[in-house]
């Protein structure tokens, strides 16, 4: 109560004040638009849709099973199943999403959609500069804008991507072996062109 | 310069307003405000008479007002303490309802 503590504290703050001008190490602030901290590998922002090959529509892995739409806690995913089918990467004909929108103003980046997807079709992106002047339309992102190629996925999450690629390659090999076995007695039908994994 | 009678009439009006409030309002706090207004009207009289007196250097009017302000402050403190005590007891500050001495 005699005020020594206050004097001690004032000396400490004065030391910090002067020190911030002397040593740059004290200033931990990152001057954002000019400087950026590299993102860690497990960084995640908002989901995106993966496609194989070069054509986002043909290579889209999503089969419109709508599991993610049902699981999404804030209900920010809107999927409409297509009427026709298109072949997936193993060559099997599958539905595809006629409409796949994510409202990222609602999305809470929980990654549940990624966890539940049986087709490895939806993953988390690391892109964070998504600001827009239109908060209703601008943040409702459609199928085309959500699509990212597999090479992008490999770039942002290398470990995760390698694991997924391995699993998908194994599955494809199995499917091909099965197809071969089935095709062995008869001449094989012209195999549907699927983008090779990791093209 | 404004004549003395103008100040006196003004003071009488403020006194009458305060008196009317103190006599007719039901809330005890407003009654107290009315009493304060009456005291202030008297103070205005003292100051006016001092200003128009023949010996203003005697400072009697000023002194009276200073003491009167002191008393008014004490009165307000005690009055409000009484009102709060009454409110605790009767759960009202309405002077019409506070009419029994029995606790």
């Amino acid at each position: 109560m005699l005020g020594e503590g206050i004097i001690k504290g004032m000396a400490e703050t004065a030391r910090n004040f002067l020190g911030s001008y002397v040593s740059d190490e004290r200033l931990t602030t990152v001057q954002y638009p000019e400087e950026r901290i590299p993102q860690i590998e497990n960084a995640r922002q908002f989901p995106f849709l993966l496609y194989d090959g070069d054509d986002w529509h043909a290579g889209m892995r999503c089969v419109a099973c709508q599991i993610c739409e049902k699981e999404c806690p804030p209900k920010c995913i809107y999927i409409e199943k297509s009427k026709d089918k298109k072949p997936d990467y193993t060559g099997k004909a599958q539905f595809y999403p006629a409409k796949f929108d994510i409202d990222i103003s609602v999305c809470m980046s929980c990654q549940i959609c990624v966890e539940v997807c049986p087709f490895d079709a939806i993953k988390m992106d690391t892109e964070y500069e998504l600001s827009t002047t239109d908060r209703f339309g601008g943040l409702l992102i459609n199928k085309q804008k959500l699509s990212r190629s597999n090479s992008h996925f490999r770039q942002i999450h290398p470990t995760d991507a390698a694991e997924v690629d391995m699993r998908l390659a194994a599955e494809k090999a199995k499917a091909e072996a099965k197809a071969k076995a089935a095709a062995a007695p008869k001449p094989a039908p012209p195999a549907p062109v699927a983008a090779p994994i990791g093209a | 310069m404004t004549p003395l009678s103008a100040y006196l009439i003004l003071s009488a009006m403020i006194f009458a307003i305060g008196l009317a409030g103190a006599l007719t309002r039901r809330n005890a706090i407003i009654v107290l405000i009315g009493i304060e207004l009456m005291l202030n009207a008297a103070n205005l009289n003292f100051i006016a008479f001092w200003r128009f007196s023949e010996h203003p250097e005697a400072l009697t009017g000023i002194m009276f007002v200073i003491f009167s302000i002191g008393i008014a402050a004490a009165e307000a403190a005690v009055g409000l303490a009484l009102i709060i005590a009454i409110y605790r007891h009767y759960k009202t500050t309405n002077v019409d309802e506070v009419n029994s001495l029995r606790g």
Binding site: - | N27, I30, I66, I69, I84
Partner: protein
């Protein structure tokens, strides 16, 4: 009558009327502050600087705050639904009219209108202080005693009696 006096007088009277007639108690208290401020300005107009500032310091700085606190402590912040005026209001009005009539009649017939103000009035703080310490020292002491007694009394009255429970 000069223009500043008329303006101040009208404002003070309006504020006083508002303080006595508004429905919301807090509005009444704020209007009362306006009336006290107007009176302080009138004191300044009458060359009583010290008293004017004391009026502001004591009434606006202390009494008004006290009243506002009392209003909130007695839950007077809400607008009452019941009648504003007491049951015997007619007698109050009659008494008021009688009092004002008597006062006005007396003032009108008194020598007050012939009085002229003193030429130059100096009530410096030094003079007031000197007077307080010499001629008026007994009243000053009595006021000090009164204020102390009022302080203790107010605290004791407003204190919750723990003993009864």
């Amino acid at each position: 009558m000069t223009l500043p006096f008329i303006i101040l007088a009208v404002l003070t009277i309006a504020a006083a009327v508002a303080a006595m007639s508004l429905r919301n108690l807090i509005h009444c208290a704020l209007a009362m502050v306006g009336a006290f401020g107007g009176l302080a300005a009138l004191y300044l107009q009458l060359d009583a600087q010290f008293v004017g500032f004391t009026q502001i310091l004591v009434y606006i700085g202390a009494v008004a705050i006290l009243i506002v606190f009392a209003i909130l402590l007695t839950r007077g912040g809400q607008v009452p639904e019941k009648a504003l005026f007491s049951s015997s209001w007619i007698w109050g009005v009659l008494v008021t009219v009688a009092v004002f009539g008597t006062l006005a009649w007396t003032i009108k017939n008194s020598f007050a209108s012939q009085r002229v103000p003193a030429e130059r009035v100096e009530a410096t703080v030094k003079e007031i202080g000197d007077a307080l310490m010499t001629k008026f020292v007994l009243p000053l002491e009595v006021i000090g005693l009164l204020l102390t007694a009022a302080l203790i009394g107010a605290v004791i009255i407003a204190m919750r009696d723990e003993v009864k429970k």
